[in-house]
Each structure stands twice: as structure tokens, then as C-alpha cells.
């Protein structure tokens, strides 16, 4: 079974998400991406 890992790091804080649920990881990444773009805007 595949495991998907996504890690973000900013300064001293680091968030790492890992799961074998590809759809879940994909949804979370899309959500994070939207939030980041809102902050950039």
C-alpha cells in the first residue's frame, strides 16, 4: 500500500502529513494551497 507524505516548513515550525489515502492527501493539499494563495493575495 502506498503512503503519501507531504511536509511544510516555515521557520522553526514543521507540519508533516502522511497517509495511504491518496484522495484525502489530495484534498488537504488543495485546501492548504487555497489558504496559502489567499494569504499571498
Amino acid at each position: 500500500m502506498a503512503e503519501y507524505v507531504f511536509k511544510m516548513k516555515k521557520g522553526e515550525i514543521e507540519i508533516e502529513l502522511s497517509s495511504d489515502d491518496a484522495e484525502f492527501v489530495e484534498q488537504q493539499l488543495a485546501k492548504w494551497r487555497e489558504e496559502i494563495l489567499k494569504k499571498q493575495g
Binding site: 507540519i15 502529513l17 502522511s18 485546501k31 489558504e35 496559502i36
Partner: protein
């Protein structure tokens, strides 16, 4: 069944959540994500743009860094750095003509000098007579003949032309007796032209003037 793991690290603290439910993990992730995005990084010792520029200029021109005392006011205006002035040496290039060109220039200069209009001599016969040894009328005649030939550059003269200059200067006239004496002594030469006699000072006459009459 899927497994969901969330790991959060902050400095030396670490939080790890392992769940079988994605919804629970998603809720926790959203909480940390908001904090993650709004978090300001303060630990990184970034330099301001001005500090970076000044450092770059100091490095470029090898200038010592200015010591700023704690009680010294900080000026907000940018400091004008004087770049080292380059010592540019200009070498004056002197044009050198080729030998052929230089020879041509000299040839032209000589030609101009030789063919330049001669300065006219405005010495009058009376002044010329006064500047030489004109003791009697014969001497005055020889001096006048020399004056016509060498000063006025007239090769031959008639008695009429001679007297037109001789009389104003001496209030006397040259007659044939003086001409004959000069011819006898070989001081003048005569030639007939257009039915009249014309005279010129001979080389012997010029020598006589130079050796005996010239002042």
C-alpha cells in the same frame, strides 16, 4: 482501512497524531495550518536592504566600516560613497608624417618661399647715391647704372631713361662723354635695339662699383 498521521514540530517540541479517521486529522490540520500561515518568522537575522547595499559598497571599494557610537543619531539619508577616481593618463600623440609626406611638405614650403613676391625696394636713387661713394658725376653714373640693373632689376637702359632718374637725384644730366668714358673703361656695354642704343653695366662695371664705390 486507511491510516492518517499528522506530525507537527516546533523547535524541540513535536506533536504527532495518528488516526483512522481522516475527518479528525483534517480538523487538527486546519488549526495548525492557520497558525502556520499567520506565523511571522523573527528568528532569521535578515539584513535590511540598506545594510546589504552598504556592505556591498564597502566590499567593492575596500572602505573601512564606519564606527557608529550608541549615542550618535542615526541618519536616514543614504550615505554617498565616493568611488576611487581612476587615474587616467592621456598620452599626447604627436602626428608623424611619413618621409615622403614630410619631403613633399618641405618642397612646397621651399617653392612658396622662392616664389613669394619679392619685397619691393623703395630706395630712391638719391638715397642710394648718398649711401655710396659718389664723389663725381662719373661715379654717380656708375652707381646709377648699378641701381637700375640690381635694384630696379632693369637690364638695359637708355640715356633718356637714365636721366629721368639721374636728374631728380643729382640735378645733373649724363651726356655722351660720360657714356663714352664708361664704355672705354669697359664698365658698360651697349647694344642697338629698335634704332636706339641701350646700355647695361658690365661685370667690370659691377666690380668697380663693389670695390671702389660701394659704401
Amino acid at each position: 482501512m486507511s491510516t492518517y498521521r499528522l506530525k507537527v514540530k516546533c523547535n524541540k517540541a513535536q506533536l504527532e497524531v495518528v488516526a483512522k479517521s481522516g475527518a479528525l486529522l483534517a480538523y487538527e490540520m486546519d488549526r495548525y495550518l492557520e497558525n502556520f500561515l499567520n506565523r511571522k518568522i523573527e528568528s532569521a537575522p535578515y539584513k535590511t536592504q540598506k545594510a546589504v547595499s552598504e556592505t556591498a559598497i564597502q566590499i567593492e571599494y575596500n572602505m573601512p566600516q564606519r564606527q557608529v557610537h550608541s549615542d550618535e543619531p542615526v541618519y536616514t539619508q543614504p550615505i554617498q560613497y565616493q568611488a576611487p577616481v581612476e587615474q587616467i593618463q592621456y598620452t599626447q600623440v604627436q602626428e608623424q608624417n611619413t618621409p615622403a609626406v614630410q619631403k613633399s611638405i618641405e618642397h612646397i614650403q621651399n617653392f612658396v618661399e622662392q616664389n613669394a613676391p619679392q619685397q619691393e625696394v623703395y630706395v630712391s636713387l638719391s638715397d642710394f647715391l648718398a649711401s655710396n661713394k659718389s664723389g663725381d658725376i662719373f661715379s654717380e653714373f656708375i652707381i646709377s647704372a648699378y641701381y637700375i640693373k640690381r635694384i630696379l632689376n632693369i637690364e638695359y637702359f637708355t640715356i633718356k631713361m637714365l636721366n629721368s632718374k639721374f636728374y631728380p637725384a643729382t640735378e645733373s644730366l649724363v651726356d655722351l662723354s660720360i657714356i663714352d668714358e664708361a664704355r672705354t673703361r669697359g664698365f658698360i656695354e651697349a647694344k642697338e635695339e629698335d634704332g636706339s642704343l641701350k646700355y647695361t653695366l658690365s661685370p667690370a662695371g659691377e666690380s668697380y662699383f663693389i670695390n671702389q664705390l660701394r659704401g
